[in-house]
């Protein structure tokens, strides 16, 4: 045990949270980039496994029944491997086998759905959600949650309501991060789901440039425009207000107190003016959740999301650069006004007391 761990233990002891001697060193989780390396090599190995299956058993891809049987066998094998005591090689093999099995099973699902893409994407989302729940591996859960969220957004595109995706995924991600420590037994799983959903948001917001015209082309051919795209903005706004409300609750602020009302009103104002620039509210929520949970990776993902969004927003074809410029101008000014009001209402020397 190093000095820093001892210090932290003593601090917890002084607060009456723990008693006695500190425990021995646990199997601490490696940093995010080691997990990313694991995910990368897992994928690469999965591609070669698929190459092997195609080269050795070519008929697999001609018959969705055979593909699904081999896919299920690979996933079941991966489940057994991933349940074994921690071993980097076995973990890699398990990940690679599962990913290869998933590709085969997804191929079978799309074949089974027989060109009904809504059914196919929804089946895929359910399948990935099942994997999130059952697969006993962090990296696997992150990837499955990401793919599940993308599958849901694709299904919504096919249903011609693409603007709902970001709000739904944002709600899922916020719920995970707000409840990270609520269920200690499921903490790792909740965290993995949270990362997967946030990564999906970064991808969704990064694809903003394609706009609704690319998301629902068939519908636009018939109707010219999507009905009620502002519903997406309202859902994102509602999730943002929910996150702020939950944080105020966490700090024990009374709902009718001055601070709560002012904060919620300011949040509503920011959400209202950023209706046309939804990525800003999404990025702000991720950044705030990262700050709240002292999670630098999440904080960084929030910043990446904002950066991706603004560069993607430039190329969005649904609106002119003049309109975009006006929207950004209003958002910028309102953010400054909110900051000015915050300085007036809560002067730096008179901060809110921690509950």
């Amino acid at each position: 045990m190093n000095d820093q761990t001892k210090e932290i233990w003593e601090l917890l002891q002084a607060s009456g949270i723990v008693l006695g001697e500190p425990p021995g060193r646990g199997d601490s989780s490696p940093p995010w980039f080691v997990k990313a390396l694991l995910a990368f090599s897992g994928w690469l190995a999965a591609i070669f496994i698929l190459g092997f299956i195609v080269a050795a058993f070519a008929p697999v891809f001609k018959n969705s029944g055979v593909a699904s049987v081999i896919g299920v066998i690979l996933i079941a094998g991966a489940f057994v491997l991933l349940r074994m005591p921690a071993n980097a090689f076995v973990e890699h093999l398990g990940l690679a086998a599962s990913l290869a099995g998933q590709v085969l099973l997804v191929y079978a699902i799309f074949d089974f759905a027989d060109h009904n893409e809504i059914t196919a994407w929804l089946l895929m989302a359910i399948f990935q959600a099942v994997l999130v729940w059952f697969m006993p591996n962090f990296v696997h859960c992150v990837v499955s949650a990401l793919v599940a969220a993308i599958a849901v957004s694709m299904a919504l595109n096919e249903m011609e309501i693409p603007y709902l995706a970001a709000g739904i995924v944002l709600f899922g991600a916020s719920y995970c991060w707000l409840n990270e420590f609520r269920y200690p037994q499921q903490m790792e799983k909740i965290r993995a789901m949270g990362y997967g959903l946030v990564l999906a948001l970064v991808a969704l917001k990064g694809m903003t440039r394609f706009g609704y015209s690319a998301f629902a082309p068939r519908f636009l051919q018939h109707h010219g425009s999507l009905p009620h795209p502002w519903v997406g903005g309202i859902i994102i706004g509602a999730v943002t207000v929910y996150v702020v409300w939950r944080l105020l609750q966490y700090y024990g602020q009374p709902m009718l107190g001055r601070l709560s009302i002012t904060t919620l009103l300011a949040t509503l104002l920011v959400c209202a003016v950023s209706m046309n620039v939804q990525g800003i509210a999404v990025g702000m929520v991720i950044v705030c959740l990262g700050f709240w949970s002292a999670n630098r990776v999440l904080l960084g993902l929030g910043m990446v999301s904002l950066l991706f969004y603004i560069s993607s927003y430039y190329y969005l074809l649904d609106t002119t650069l003049l309109d975009k410029s006006l929207s950004l101008l209003v958002v910028g000014l309102i953010l400054f006004v909110v900051r000015w009001l915050m300085q007036k209402i809560i002067p730096a020397a008179n901060e809110v007391q921690h509950a």
Binding site: N2, T5, I8, L11, L12, S15, I17, V18, G26, S28, F33, V34, L37, S41, G42, L44, A45, F48, G51, F52, A55, A88, F89, V90, E91, H92, L93, A96, F181, P184, M187, Y250, I280, M284, V287, C288, F291, S293, A294, I310, Y314, L321, L322, K324, S325, L326, L328, L329, V331, G332, L333, L335, F336, R339, M342, Q343, I346, E351, V352, H354
Partner: protein, 323 residues
Amino acid sequence: MNTLRRQLIDFIDQGVIPKEKIDVALAALKVTPDGKSWRTFVDHLLLWLGGLALAFAVMFFIAYNWAALGRFAKFGMVELFIVLAITAYCKLAENAIASKVSLFVATISLGVLLALYGQTYQTGADPWQLFFNWALLMLPWAVIGRFPAMWIVWIALMNASIILYFMTFRGIFGFVFGSESGMLWIVFLFNTFAFVAWQVLEKAWGWLAESWAMRLLAVSSGVPITWLVLLSIFDYREVGTFPGLIWVVWLVAMGYIYRKVKRDLFMLAGCCLSTITVTVSFFGRHILHNGEAGAFLILAFMVVGMGGGAALWLKKVHQEWQL
């Protein structure tokens, strides 16, 4: 903040903190921020986002190229915005964050002004000149600004101008480096120089000591040299063995420095990633001739072996450093 969080998670995983006391532990270790930290954070967030939103509003407006607005009005608007940002920087000198935001906004607007100049007078200049002039003119602000984000923007602009320059002239450096690889060599040399300079200067100027900036520079140095090695694997006649030699030197230097001199697991993980990519590509190039099933299986096991070995080694180093 991450260390406290990680340690607390370890304790919770080991079951030494009861469920009902987790919130108290989060507050006691200040993992969840207090009111003062929240106020400062929200203040900075609103300032950065507000400033950037305004700068991008100006950029989008100019990009729209509104015909109804005369060129003098456009120039006046952008110049006035830059003057306002610089005035804010001077006036807000005592507020570190506000002055940084102002300078950053002025830097973005400078690029907008240069783009507007090119757009209005159709100077015939190549795109690389826009980025190069932008980098040149913002240099004094980067020097006085003394914060890493400005220097990263400067390095990014230089990268953009090198790439665009190469794309325009297709290798004035061709006589030295050959054709396609020339750009990668120049980008690699420039970014490696910036990376080394950053490492040396951070000892004298503490404000440069930001791990995210150094990691970004390490990636910007590692990606072109890895790419060059991949080129030499897949198109040997084009590049030869020289990139491989430089890559090995780069790998050994990075491994030694970040394992022994200055501990940083991210850099070591990057070296592992580069090694896996190059090794698998090399063997893939030589054994995947006719798409034989056995070759795919060998490569799959090779990736699993190398990935597992890398993860195991990184975990061991990580635990060793924690002692």
